[in-house]
């Protein structure tokens, strides 16, 4: 058969028409597009069954409840738990990237001795030797937990010292220890924010990482945000326009370092003008002295005092340890009254603070719950537990601790909380390498100590025996209505939260003998100071860098 030029034209036209109606080229184009988005070197998300589990964040003392989305056994997303009565579904910004932390390049993967690889057996031998040679000090960042019991018992057994690195919020409550009787430790006190109508913050970053993320922000959002006459008045006293000052009902700009003078001036106006019923010793500072120091006018201080008491109950909150603010609360009648400083839990023992001098110690063991910034004031051999290496730390031993959701642990009441709570954070992921918590490490040295898991079971049984409080899980159940201790513990093991009944009386016996004369030097507030991880989630570092919203400290860069 002879092929003519006409045949070629017909064939070409037919092919062109066929191509238009054929799905082949479009399918090929589609496949090529998809193929170019799926190069073999592009990281692929994990595959596997999707589950949503509940747990608690243990990277700071607040212990926020979180829903964790798991894919094939790996945490792939975090969200708040709306049914949790404490956090009310809110989390801090860092929590949304926390599931990436276990893979952070600065994750501690092996024991290091003076920056050189070592082993757990060598670390145990070194610590056991130190225990035999002299007194030891154990520093804990989350007192009251099951692991803390092991640490405290070990220190006592060794005739050593158990110390606590308190959160900034709890340190702000320390001045009240001396004011109330019988003495109640700061860790058993809290703020009754829910019943306060006026909150006067002396530099406390109430809307910027202070306390439980969901507690005050939700309260402020519902009762104050955007209202010209809010139900909750937030007055921020600060030298600069912080995030909290930006959103406060009133921002009172004062000269840096003059908060104590303003507190003294306000107390004097409150008493002199009979604005409060309480009587107490006053500072020698006059209102005009306070005006001079704060750069406010005398009339502005008097107006501020009248505004404060116009909508009681009034609560003054300090950003750090400030006896003058505690004295102002005493004058306001806010210590031990609804909407003020309240006792959260039963009397507990007073802790020795970590920043006190450590003379003649042979070794200091620092738990992973203590923020990386903590530097013990000692020359002793330092055993530092941490999940992440923050660099520039003079620890002799760096011991890898469990990271995010890698440990079965318990979560106690958050600092600043007005009610007692208890939760159990289940272990959701398997550790990638050999890690031990400080409590496990000490239990391995002396097996006579009860391990934290047994203590958690015991605590659950003790709480059930009291038949008080309520469990907030999938359902809200009063403990009195639960059938057995096993059911109670099963609920808590699924990250339900036990909340104690509100105390019948908030009243505390308190006395102010004299107006405090001095206050410790003001320390700059680090937004993530309570964050136990030495690093930030890489996404947080990236977004803060690219948005100029806030500066991530250099050492926390991913």
């Amino acid at each position: 058969m002879k092929v003519t030029r006409r045949d070629l034209f017909v064939w070409g036209a037919g092919a062109a028409a066929g191509m238009v109606f054929s799905p082949v080229p479009w399918k090929l184009l589609d496949d090529v597009s998809i193929w170019t988005q799926n190069w073999p070197w592009i990281p692929q998300p994990p595959h596997g069954p999707i589950e949503v589990k509940q747990s608690f964040c243990t990277l700071c003392p607040q212990g926020c409840a979180m829903k964790v989305k798991m894919a094939g056994g790996c945490p792939v997303g975090v969200a708040g738990v709306s049914g949790n009565p404490v956090t009310r579904g809110a989390l801090c910004p860092l929590a949304f990237g926390v599931h990436q932390l276990n893979w952070h390049p600065q994750r501690l993967r092996a024991v290091r001795h003076k920056r050189v690889s070592s082993s757990w057996s060598e670390a145990r031998a070194a610590f056991a030797k130190a225990c035999g040679e002299g007194p030891i000090v154990i520093v804990d960042g989350r007192p009251g937990s099951a692991a803390s019991s092991v640490l405290a018992s070990f220190a006592e057994e060794q005739k050593g010292s158990y110390r606590v690195a308190l959160s900034l919020e709890t340190r702000a409550l320390l001045p009240y220890e001396a004011m109330v009787s019988p003495v109640i430790p700061a860790s058993a006190l809290g703020y009754d924010l829910e019943r306060a109508q006026t909150i006067v913050s002396f530099g406390a970053p109430l809307l910027d990482g202070w306390g439980i993320p969901g507690r005050f922000t939700r309260l402020w959002s519902e009762r104050a945000a955007g209202m010209s006459e809010p139900q909750l008045r937030l007055i921020q006293i600060e030298d600069s326009l912080s995030r909290t000052a930006t959103r406060a009902w009133r921002w009172v700009a004062i000269r840096p370092g003059s908060k104590n003078a303003l507190a003294a001036g306000l107390a004097r106006v409150l008493v002199e003008e009979h604005l409060v019923s309480a009587r107490g010793p006053l500072s020698a500072l006059t209102v005009s002295d306070a005006a001079l120091q704060t750069n406010l006018s005398e009339s502005a201080i008097r107006d501020l005092a009248r505004t404060m008491v116009a909508k009681p109950p009034v609560l003054a909150i300090a950003g750090d340890e400030r006896p003058e603010i505690a004295a102002l609360n005493f004058i306001l009648g806010s210590v031990g009254s609804p909407g003020g400083i309240v006792r959260r839990s039963k009397p507990t023992e007073k802790y020795e603070l970590a920043n006190a001098a450590i003379p003649n110690a042979r070794a200091v063991l620092i738990d992973a719950s203590v923020p990386w910034d903590y530097a013990p004031p000692t020359d002793a051999e330092i055993f530092r537990f941490a999940a992440w290496d923050g660099g520039s730390n003079r620890a002799d031993w760096l011991l890898p601790a469990p990271g995010f959701l890698e440990e079965f642990t318990d979560v106690n009441s958050a600092p600043t909380s007005a009610v007692e709570t208890y939760g159990v954070a289940p272990q959701l992921t398997k550790p990638m390498f050999e890690i031990h918590s400080a409590a496990q490490f000490l239990s391995a040295i002396d097996s006579s100590f009860t391990n934290p898991e047994t203590i958690i079971h015991q605590r659950c049984a003790d709480l059930f025996r009291e038949r008080a409080g309520t469990v907030y899980g999938q359902e809200i159940m009063p403990v009195a209505e639960l059938d057995s201790a096993q059911k109670f513990e099963a609920e808590l093991s699924k990250a339900a939260l036990w909340v104690a009944d509100a105390p019948k009386s908030a009243s505390l016996l308190c006395e102010l003998k004299e107006w405090p004369s001095t206050s410790p030097a003001e320390s700059p507030r680090n937004w993530s100071a309570a964050w136990a991880a030495a690093v930030l989630p890489p996404l947080a570092t990236k977004l803060y860098r690219e948005s100029s919203l806030r500066e991530a400290p250099d050492r926390r860069t991913a």
């Binding site: 922000t217 939700r218 945000a225 930006t246 890489p538 990236k542 803060y544 919203l549």
Partner: protein, 249 residues
């Protein structure tokens, strides 16, 4: 009935914490590349700081989350895309970006008056092992394509699948909540169907305090802002916009 998904963001409630940014980036598998800068990084949700320009105690500041406005009318990015990689979904009103079709010309970035689009300058990468923490519902994108907020489309798909499994045609609104809305600790971001007059978000969008950015362009964004502060509402005026940050802060 087709929906018109949109947001009302109450700027008086925004504390600038950045939880929405982090939740968005985690949900959408945004890589944290060290070489990315403020100019070259991916931030589908970006919180900016604005001020009234005052000094001392007269100064006031606010925070404004900027994301794709999902313009309804004459959507600028749709008009300029030579690849039909951007389209307005008729069923939802969501402005969809399809990375498989995008050739990376960046016309859409130039056309977007809100600066809410970002170019993927690098292949996505994470520290070793961290890919196991990625959201399996969202594919990672290659370099050379433009990205933006798609109102967590993967969550919409999941809600549709859930509704279909239950034999329903319509999704339960509680099943479709974008990550930023879920994450906001002050509940400043509200999400809903603007086409439904009973929806609280639709009602809030008609509040006298509600406004949209660059309204004079008549692109009819589906992201509304709300504030009682007149100086914040001035953002809707022609010579304002995200560059307020550069001018005043």
């Amino acid at each position: 009935m087709s929906a018109r998904y949109g947001m009302v963001i109450d700027l008086d409630r925004c504390t600038g914490c950045g939880a929405c940014m982090l939740a968005c980036a985690a949900e959408n598998n945004v890589p944290s590349l060290p070489q990315a800068s403020a100019r070259t990084g991916l931030t589908p949700m970006l919180v900016r700081k604005i001020s009234n320009g005052g000094e001392g105690s007269e100064r006031r500041e606010a925070f404004i989350p900027i994301l794709c406005m999902h313009c309804e009318h004459e959507t600028p990015c749709v008009h300029v895309c030579p690849q039909q990689a951007v389209e307005v979904d008729k069923a939802t009103g969501i402005v969809m970006q399809m990375p498989q079709r995008c050739l990376g010309c960046r016309y859409c970035m130039t056309a977007c008056p809100y600066h809410a689009r970002y170019f993927n300058w690098w292949d996505p990468a994470w520290p070793k092992g961290m890919e196991k923490s990625l959201n399996p519902g969202v594919a990672v994108r290659m370099r050379g394509v433009v990205e933006k907020c798609n109102l967590c489309h993967a969550r919409l798909h999941a809600a549709k699948e859930k509704a279909a499994a239950a034999g329903k045609r319509e999704i339960d609104p509680a099943d479709y909540i974008p990550a930023c809305v879920e994450a906001c600790p002050t509940a400043a971001i509200h999400f809903g169907n603007l086409a439904d007059p009973r929806d609280p978000v639709s009602q809030q969008s008609h509040s006298p305090d509600a406004f949209r950015l660059l309204e004079h362009l008549d692109t009819q964004p589906k992201v509304y802002y709300k504030s009682k502060e007149p100086w914040v509402r001035a953002l809707s005026e022609p010579n304002s916009g995200p560059s307020m940050e550069a001018k005043h802060v």
